[in-house]
């Protein structure tokens, strides 16, 4: 048996930028709800709000991990510390996962200014957003200037994560289908920056033009309104990544000068609070209230009680138990 360091003690080290403390607290938030851990996170939350959080999304194979690696090099060259949270899908059968993004990011380790963490998506019930965003907080409190979140951006949970970023980058690869992938994924509207990856390929020009055309049609234009740029990148030719960093920096600047940052922070707070509330309710169902639920369900099937009424009494009954466990 080993000596378990209390989470509050780890939190102090997180503030000093201690990588192992950050890593261990991420593990603890990932492995479920523990009041002792929540207390430490609550304390650390006060030290967050300094990092610029960038969500990077796009279909599998679009080139996200490759791009993250290049982007990290750019940020390091500009003197900034970068944290990465890479979210990989898990096997739907067992809940386990082989987290592959790390392979492509291998050349980034052994630099104390870079921290990379992989996370698995765990089936439908699993609240992915909460641990992922807690990890972002931990990196933020740990003094990382930039936090990049890589997700495939399909499913509500993943979209919520991207929504909790300050800048959202959507990665489109040429030739992955006839339509722009962002439309299929439903993330066209939430992109602050579009990337066309693999710009070394001949079909990339078409994707760039299609995307530009689409943006002309769908977005309002005018003074002080952010114009979503389309940035071509190529890891083969090593081009575009400096421009991408510059575009993200410009967006960060725009949020500040236009005052939009206030709105965005409000939106992020809303997403997170609602998300956690939902999660707490779900966890509670899964944990304690089974017998109670069963009794109510019986009443509903027998038409003694309507579903809405049953839900309301369930939530009322839940009130006390929530207080104890959270």
């Amino acid at each position: 048996m080993i000596n378990r360091i209390p989470s509050m003690q780890l939190a102090e080290r997180v503030r000093e930028g201690h990588l192992r403390a950050i890593a261990r607290l991420i593990t603890r938030v990932e492995s479920g709800d523990n009041p002792e851990v929540r207390e430490a996170l609550a304390e650390l939350y006060k030290s967050t709000g300094n990092a610029h959080v960038v969500g990077i999304t796009g279909v599998p194979g679009a080139g996200k991990s490759t791009l993250v690696t290049q982007l990290v090099h750019e940020y390091r060259a500009s003197g900034r510390k970068v944290g990465v949270v890479a979210i990989d899908p898990s096997s739907p059968y067992s809940g386990g996962a082989i987290l592959g993004d790390r392979i492509r990011m291998g050349d980034l380790v052994s630099d104390p200014g870079v921290f990379i963490r992989s996370m698995a998506t765990r089936g439908t019930l699993g609240g992915l957003a909460r641990p992922a965003l807690d990890a972002v907080d931990l990196l933020d409190a740990g003094g990382f200037d930039i936090v990049l979140i890589e997700t495939v951006g399909v499913g509500q949970d993943e979209v919520d994560i991207v929504r909790a970023a300050h800048t959202t980058v959507v990665v489109n690869a040429p030739g992955l289908g006839d339509d722009i992938q962002a439309i299929k994924a439903g993330v066209l509207e939430i992109a602050d920056v579009h990337v066309v990856s693999k710009a070394d390929r001949p079909d990339s020009n078409r994707t760039i033009q299609e995307l530009k055309g689409m943006l002309m049609m769908s977005l309002e234009q005018g003074e002080g309104i952010w114009r979503v740029p389309v940035v071509p990148t190529s890891s083969e030719k090593h081009t575009g990544f400096g421009e991408l960093m510059a575009a993200i920096d410009r967006h960060a600047e725009h949020l500040k000068t236009s005052g939009e940052i206030t709105e965005r922070r409000h939106q992020i707070a809303l997403t997170r609070v609602v998300k956690v509330a939902e999660q707490i309710v779900r966890d509670n169902f899964a944990r304690d209230s089974r017998s109670q639920t069963e009794a109510l369900l019986k009443q509903v099937t027998q038409r003694e009680l309507d579903p809405h009424g049953a839900a309301v009494s369930l939530l009322k009954a839940m009130k006390e138990t929530i207080h104890e466990t959270h």
Binding site: R4, R20, R102, I103, G106, V109, R117
Partner: protein, 141 residues
């Protein structure tokens, strides 16, 4: 072991190939088996350095670091990894290995602090059981 069972944290494993060793069949078999048993597996890919692997294992905060070695370099690489873990105050990480390693070397590696070595023809289930046991013995972290 179900993931929605709050009391049972998912076991995190990093599987690493270090040095020039290009034999990756075995490690991929192990990766899949552990994944199918519900563990999170981070595979490093080929040709990593001990420093890269240890840094990555610390950031990923894995329960178990598994190194696959068929190149004959095990008596060089394991001590290096153990030393780096010590230097970085990460000695609580469980270190395991597999591949092609002579019996005498296995004994010596155990003395150095490697927790488990499972060689050729080990059935996947034995690796899974052994990993679960190692984590249970270590206890809560």
């Amino acid at each position: 072991m179900q993931n929605n069972d709050k009391s049972a944290a998912v076991i995190r494993v990093m599987l690493a190939k270090i040095g020039l060793d290009g034999h990756d069949r075995g490690i991929k078999v192990v990766a899949r088996a552990l994944r199918d048993a519900g563990m999170d597996v981070v595979y490093t890919g080929l040709h990593r350095t001990p420093e890269e692997v240890v840094d990555a294992a610390i950031q990923e905060d894995v329960d178990i670091l598994g190194i696959s070695l068929l190149s004959g370099a095990h008596m060089h690489i394991f001590p290096k990894v153990l030393q780096l873990l010590k230097d970085k105050e990460a000695e609580d990480m469980i270190v395991t290995g597999g591949g092609v390693i002579p019996d005498d070397d296995v004994k010596e590696l155990y003395q150095m602090g490697v927790h488990k070595i499972l060689l050729q023809d080990t059935p996947p289930q034995e690796i899974i059981d052994s990993f679960r046991q190692l984590v249970a013995e270590r206890g809560d972290r």
